[in-house]
């Protein structure tokens, strides 16, 4: 069953940029796209650079799909699906995320 876990205040998010949350020992990158008022959550671990850095990448869109570019070697990951634009066989985990009363919450499935 889905359980929403409190992460941080909405004010802790960085507009058009990312932060990293620690949930149940997992590192999750959280992005806030100000134009669309949208938030996304994906794994923080960069499968190419093998380091916990995706939350520190630049974000935007490619062909209309929201993406983050890894700060290490610049591969792009789809923020909605986690799929890598350059190599579709590589995918990082995505998580359901919402705001509730000024708080950011991420869903874990247990």
């Amino acid at each position: 069953m889905t359980q929403w876990i409190d992460v941080c205040s909405v004010d802790d998010l960085q507009p058009d940029s990312g932060v990293c949350a620690l949930i149940d020992g997992r590192q999750i990158a959280v992005f806030y796209m100000s134009q669309d008022q949208a938030i996304y959550a994906i794994d923080n671990f960069d499968p190419f650079g093998k380091a916990n850095v995706l939350s520190r990448g630049l974000i935007g869109d490619l062909g209309g799909e929201p993406m983050v570019a890894s700060p290490l070697y610049k591969q792009h990951f789809n923020l909605k699906t986690g799929v890598c634009f350059e190599d579709e066989s590589i995918k990082v985990e995505t998580y359901a995320i919402r705001t509730e009363n000024g708080r950011v919450e991420i869903a874990t499935v247990s």
Binding site: V7, S17, C20, L22, I23, R56, G57, G60, G64
Partner: protein, 845 residues
Amino acid sequence: MNTKQKLVVIGNGMVGQNFLQSLAESGIKDQYEVITFCEEPRPAYDRVHLSAFFSGKSADDLSLVPEGFFENNNITIHMGDRAIDIDKENQLVFSEKGLTVSYDKLVLATGSYPFVPPVPGHDRENCLVYRTIEDLEAITAAAKNSKIGVVVGGGLLGLEAANALKDLGLETHVVEFAPRLMAVQLDAGGGAMLKKKIEDLGVSVHTSKNTTNIGDGDNCFHKMTFADGEELETDIVLFSAGIRPRDDIARNSGLDIGPRGGIVIDNQCKTSDKNIYAIGECALWDGRIFGLVAPGYTMARTVVADLADNDASFTGADMSTKLKLLGVDVASIGDAHARTPGAMVYTYQDGAAEVYKRLVVSEDKKLLLGAVLVGDAAGYSTLLQYCLNGIELPENPDSLILPSRSDESVGLGPDALPMSAQICSCYDVSKGDVCEAIEKGCTTVPALKDETQASTGCGGCAPLLKSVLDSELTKAGIEVNTDICEHFPHTRQDIYNLVMVEEIKTFNELLDKHGTGRGCEVCRQAVGSILASYWNEYVLKKEHLSLQDTNDTFLANMQKDGTYSVVPRVTGGELSPDMLIASGQVAKKYGLYTKITGGQRIDLFGARVDQLPGIWSELIDAGFESGHAYGKSLRTVKSCVGSTWCRYGIDDSVGLAVELENRYKGLRAPHKIKMAVSGCTRECAEAQGKDIGVIATEGGWNLYVCGNGGMKPRHADLFATDLDKDTLIKYIDRVLIFYVRTADRLQRTSVWMENMEGGLDYLKSVVIDDKLGICNELEKQMQYVIDTYQCEWKTTIEDESKLKRFRHFVNSDQTDENIVFVEERGQIRPANEEEREQLKLTEEA
């Protein structure tokens, strides 16, 4: 089974080598065993660019021989061995070192030697010539102990030699026998204008002077005496009074020689012996010697064709030239002296601007026969094409040399040229050849150069090549997409102008007005850089935060494991013991790996993001500032120790480096900028490998621009000499802001320069002559950036709200467990995957 014929080439100069290369590329290369005699101590080099030796090009840089050329093509070269005799009957060549080589075919490419008039004293010490690398070494050596230099001969080469003497810091004179300079190419009006311009540059010109004696001087090493009784004292005499063909071995072996020298050849470049050819400057065709390389190359190709039994003839060559002599543009085309019967002449002279132009046209005013341009040679390509291709002139031919008062362009577009028009005379590349290469897919100038060799010789044809390319691409409907990314239909330059003109201050404003979508890492960073260059606001200001890649966001460079490096500024590489100790203490406290960088400063590695503010506040307390190692901005100004300590130092290189680094620190640019200052020409700071390089000379500072190391190293170009400090700084201000405004994203100054139409000369005209009238504005903008400088780290640690970001997690104070170090050579380094596994196992156990 040796059926190969023996081919011997005497002389491995420019033309000899070109012949070997043409042969190696031809279908008949395997029919010959090739042997060549090379008198000089090194194989062929680029004599045309010989003077570049003085601005730092080495003998290797000038070499014309690709690596492994002789080995790969099975050519035997006898280096440093001169052929001394030919036995035509038995087909043998004898060499100075005692070799005897037989031949089936012989090619003479012995070139020419500088003519030294037999005046008494011509063979005194420090009476020199200008033809080989050894000559230039002798000139450099002599100049060390000299103050004054005289060039005898005011022709093309004489003026080039005068330039060299001037650059070596000598008071320079030119003595010419004829009543005007460049008598071969210019008419009286052009010669007079050139003389005035050259004298304005500080070179004294003495025309109608016949040297009668060179003897001991009173104040200098020599005293020259002239027929009119006048005298001139000098330390060096450099003869450049014309060239004479090296025809002695041909003469001794009984080949036909012209009455005034030169080995007589026919249209197939054959001498009076059917097995012997002569090519290049030693050859006399139709009573003429051709003192340029292009005709020599045509002769070389003709011989290769003849050997292959193909039809080819040498039928003379165009001797038009365009040059920059002592910074003055000079060009001469075709029949400059109007010797053609019935020829008519138009002249245009602008005394104030010091421009002289003359057109020689046919009696019916339909054809251009010749032209002379002094002071402004911009019209050269167009006029040359009219002349060479017999293109009918416009109704008023003088419109070609009158300054255009309307917008109407009189230039001859590349479309008007026939396919046979020669674009590059050095390599005989026609418009047809260029178009063919374009069709094959060469859509850039570098690709065309590779494919056709056009523009790889003297470079004079580069603008024409580019315009042919542009017009062909446009015609083919190929639009070169120069948009920076899918979010902005603009180039970086366009965006810069939009920011400037519309006073746009944020990315979102720009995106709203001129872009689509949400941006990406390419446009965000590019716009972030432009906004920073122009407005110079704090880069972590809320509106700009999303434009910075991680390095700029955390003001540190991310390493492979997600940790960061810390590089404080060490201006000019100068660091006091106290500061050195302080950086060591910080490193020790935080357990960081330390290394001296290639940029003369100290790098501390292995800092976690949460440690950065602590590290930096301690560094700032110790007096350090951000080093901007993370930014596309000024990195370091490297220095050598200079006059303060070094026994050779001419000026205070460290002092200037510190001043420059403090002036330009924080300047954001399309790419990183590196500088260096050396205290003398030994160049220990490697200034010629930097974007901006400065070298101290006796006369002031020499400024070099647009060099770099890295992937594709490029020597910087000498931009201006003997500057006082104020002028130097003014020029650097202007060059840098002009770069910031006009370069593409991530384009170093070297590539910027190489893509700039008009290249170095154009940059000089913008920065030194203020051709665009923007110098004031450029300086003002630089001053604004300097006035608004802040240490980004200082601003950051003073702002609580900014420090919030320097945590690995928003919701926890834990650190990243993935960061694991091991020890090596007494310091930390990131653990590799295997070591990580190992560590995990031990922990679990």
